[in-house]
Amino acid sequence: MDHTLWDEAFLHKIEQLSLVSKRRRMGRLAGERRSPKRGSSVEFADYRNYTAGDDLRQLDWNIYARLEKLFVKLFEEEEDLTVHVLLDASRSMDWDGLTAAQAIGGSGAPVLHTGGKFRYARRVAAAFGYIALSSLDRVWLGAMHGNAVHRLGPLRGRNHALGMLHFLEKLRAEGDTDLSAALRSYLVRQRQPGLCYVISDMLSPGGSLDGLRALQSAGYEVNLIHVLDPAEVNPLLALSGDLRLRDVETGEEEEVSIDPSTVGIYEEKYKVWQQAIASFCLQRSIPYILATTDLPFEDLILHYLRRRGMLA
């Protein structure tokens, strides 16, 4: 086990989070979730007119006795919830401001000492996965390299937690992510839509919003967790002086002198870019949260649990 990634405190925290979420669900049956599909459970859902070929066992004879019309009783179908945790594993996710600051001889602001985006993203993914496993949900993990997705699943039950952690631990951030392409390729091979957490820095030259749109069209309940390094929000935390900036994914270079004026422009551009993503999500009813790596990941998880009604 990589103790820097899964240290004891982290494991303790996700265990706590899963307990917190479980306690709220005591009144319900384990493994049961309401499904939009009509099915054969015992819970009545609706009526509809009889059409030829319907199962006669589903007719409501009491209604027929009263109204002399044939109605079919519809029941809720109960099924397992599928939770997809899609993790951006491109090289841009592996960038962190502290390393960049040290590369140019600086020490970096204290807020940068958080271990980087990829570590943060994996911990968040592990937390979502663990909670889902604890809830007896079906869990799919996906790591997006380039336009391919490295999948693990379906997993069910807490005994798969160790395997999930191993999978995440062995992940390496490599390749340039075309997030849209990766998400589409995931859709092609995945037949079980469900709750979907996309964890990414959204720094994808090809754009990433199309992929989200496709995911949503395919019936996924998409949540976007936008993970950024503090130094990406405020470059002054890590960068200074006259620099030649090299893109970690494309290798392209830009010459920039870091000073308040350039940083001012950068911040303006950053704001426009981030607002575009946020407003896209708002329009599509995609829950969106921006998490810089200095935000404690358990706060993030609690935010989602609360959002999904698992917590008051």
């Binding site: 841009s92 960038w95 893109d247 000073d259 350039t262 303006e268």
Partner: protein
């Protein structure tokens, strides 16, 4: 404009390593970022401000290059040509006389003159030397051939203005002797031009420049007391005040006369331009000692607005005439206000006790040896013997009196016109039929000699006693009929009775700076002088007189002699006044003529004035700015930058 060390400009080549280092420094460090996406557009935005951005980026380089240029420039020792009074060996004569106290140029002319000289010192070039001489009644060398500007400034600041008159001729002679020591000498006179007549001076072997000091309009506004005398009149002492208006405008003011510090009289004055006026204030108290006259006007020079005069309130001297009757002597003595004359027949004479002066008429033979007073002897009898004939000198003196030969019709020859006794005495028309031929005693000074050098009138001081001798009978000459006779008798009696009326034979007033010489009483062992401001000094003395020279302040000086038994008599008073019309006439003279040659006012000479300290100061400021910019991370306000959109 030029540079004393132009080779230093080669150091500008140091700019090359600076630029190289800067280019090395500008090689960008490479750093990996997560995405170029957001940065790309930034560079596109910055293109619009490229020139300014490039300048801003290179601001430190530009500052460093300017800094280097300034330092190299300073090392090259640049200079500008400034006009200067002179080059080379400069002798500056600073007029320190009373007229330089005039306030027509604030604060006064002397300060203005010092400023002029200060400018000359500042404009000194390399190799220039300045000799600084302060000229008042005497000349004083403040700095001798100095090249150090600081030392010259210090010497200049030590110069003080005096109350005395200008002896510029003396100063010029001193300057000429300094000028002879070098080839390229220039004498610079900084003065208001009230320096008197310099035409009789030998030409100065140097260029002479004159820098006039003084204002232009109304700067000659001065009223002065030109003389103050106090004499005894029939109704008590009278003060005679002479006032002159040297201004070219009407002047009004108030004249006040104080007696011993008490205001006695005041008069309104109205003076036309150039007018002189005499004011007599009579019926002063007989006890008056110090009479002070002061004029209160709005003029530019205060030093000559006050004058002091002394009045001796002597008790009448008692004189004894031993004579069978001499109308000339009796008449002339009765005219003297302070002489109380008694007469005695030679046969009745037995003692001179109680008398200050004993007068022996012609042919009186008796000469008692115990007489201890002043003597006035007319035509001494052959048998007369001088007092106390004990000792070798006395024997010689006695021999002088015993010459029996006779001079017939001696012609008056040498007359000691400079002696106070002979003041205002004109003996050119005197005729003498017969006189005694006598030898001049070594204690006596001749007053009148005949053409063969035989004394006709002489006087002297023999062991504290004063003796005056006429070698002829008044009846044998035309002297009693001349105007000069009463004056001569008055002067002579004044001299003979001076031991009672100390100071009577001194000049009535001293000029500032003129030394006071005090005749010592025989047993004086300490002499104390009190200055007008009340401070006292003990005078060093040797021989028969004590001298005090620091009489620059006008006013009344008091000298007290002390013997072993305390004070000897009353203090002697001396008055010091600026009675110098040349100083009181403060109109600035635009030109000056020396030995017939006009002194040039301007000068074409230039001097190289270096200004590297200024450059170094600017460079230091620049270094501070550069450090500040670097420290602040080059947070210069950027022109034309819009505020970030909210």
């Amino acid at each position: 404009m030029g540079a004393l060390n132009p080779l230093a400009l080669l150091l500008l080549a140091l700019a090359i390593p600076i630029i190289v280092l800067y280019m090395l420094r500008l090689r960008r460090r490479e750093v990996v970022v997560s995405s170029r996406m957001l940065w790309t557009r930034i560079l596109q935005d910055k293109q619009a401000n490229a020139p300014w951005q490039r300048l801003q980026r290179n601001l430190l380089l530009v500052l460093q290059l300017i800094l280097l240029a300034l330092l190299v420039f300073a090392l090259a020792r640049p200079f500008v040509e400034v006009a200067t009074a002179a080059r080379g060996n400069i002798i500056v004569l600073l007029d320190s006389s009373a007229s330089m106290q005039a306030t027509d140029v604030p604060p006064n002319r002397f300060a203005a003159a010092k400023q002029q000289i200060s400018d000359i010192i500042d404009s000194m070039g390399a190799g220039d030397r300045i000799t600084l001489i302060s000229v008042a009644s005497s000349s004083r060398v403040l700095a001798n051939a100095a090249e150090d500007k600081a030392a010259l400034h210090a010497a200049l600041s030590n110069a003080t203005v005096s109350n005395g008159s200008t002896n510029m001729a003396d100063g010029l002679r001193l300057a000429a002797s300094v000028a002879r020591q070098a080839q390229d000498s220039t004498v610079v006179i900084v003065s208001d031009g009230a320096v008197g007549d310099l035409s009789k001076l030998p030409p100065v072997q140097a260029t002479v420049r004159y820098i006039p000091v003084g204002g232009s309009n109304g700067s000659d506004n001065n009223q002065a007391i030109t003389a103050l005398a106090v004499r005894d009149g029939p109704n008590g002492p009278e003060a005679l005040v002479s006032i002159a208006n040297f201004a070219s405008i009407n002047a009004s003011g108030i004249l006040t006369v104080s007696v011993d510090g008490q205001l006695w009289a005041s008069k309104q004055l109205q003076l036309a331009p150039g007018q002189r006026s005499s004011v007599t204030v009579d019926q002063l108290p007989r006890t008056a000692q110090i009479v002070t006259a002061r004029i209160v006007t709005k003029d530019n020079l205060a030093a000559d607005d006050i004058a002091y005069a002394l009045h001796t309130n002597a008790k009448p001297s008692k004189a004894l005439l031993i004579s069978d009757g001499n109308l000339f002597i009796e008449k002339s003595m009765s005219l003297l206000p302070n002489i109380q004359l008694d007469k005695v027949k030679p046969a009745d004479f037995h003692s001179a006790d109680g008398y200050d002066l004993v007068i022996y008429d012609s042919g009186v033979p008796v000469f008692p040896a115990n007489i201890n007073t002043s003597l006035l002897i007319f035509n001494p009898a052959p048998s007369i013997t001088p007092p106390n004939p004990n000792g070798e000198a006395e024997a010689k003196a006695a021999a002088a009196f015993n010459v029996k030969s006779r001079l017939d019709f001696p012609q008056v020859g040498a007359v000691q016109v400079n002696d106070p006794i002979m003041r205002y005495v004109d003996l050119s028309t005197v005729q003498i039929s017969t006189a005694r031929k006598m030898l001049l005693p070594d204690w006596a000074k001749p007053l009148v000699l005949d053409r063969d050098g035989n004394p006709l009138i002489f006087a002297g001081n023999l062991e504290g006693r004063r003796i005056g001798v006429f070698t002829f009978d008044l009846h044998n000459s035309t002297l009693p009929l001349l105007v000069a006779y009463p004056v001569l008798v008055s002067n002579l009696v004044g001299y003979l009775t001076a031991s009672q009326n100390a100071g009577a034979d001194l000049p009535p007033s001293l000029n500032p700076g003129e030394p006071i010489s005090v005749p010592l009483q025989p047993d004086a062992n300490r002499v104390t002088l009190t200055r007008p401001d009340g401070s006292s000094v003990d005078l060093p003395f040797g021989g028969s007189q004590a001298v005090y020279a620091d009489t620059d302040a006008s006013g009344v000086y008091s000298v007290q002699q002390f013997g072993s038994n305390g004070a000897l008599g009353q203090p002697t008073l001396y008055s010091v006044n600026l009675f110098d019309e040349q100083e009181s006439n403060i109109k600035p003279q635009p030109t000056l003529s020396i030995a017939g040659q006009p002194a040039s006012a301007a000068s074409g000479a230039t001097s190289e004035r270096e200004f590297w300290p200024l450059i170094i100061t600017v460079a230091l400021l620049l270094a501070i700015v550069e450090w500040w910019i670097y420290f602040r991370g080059r947070r210069l306000p950027r022109l034309g930058r819009s505020t970030p959109a909210a």
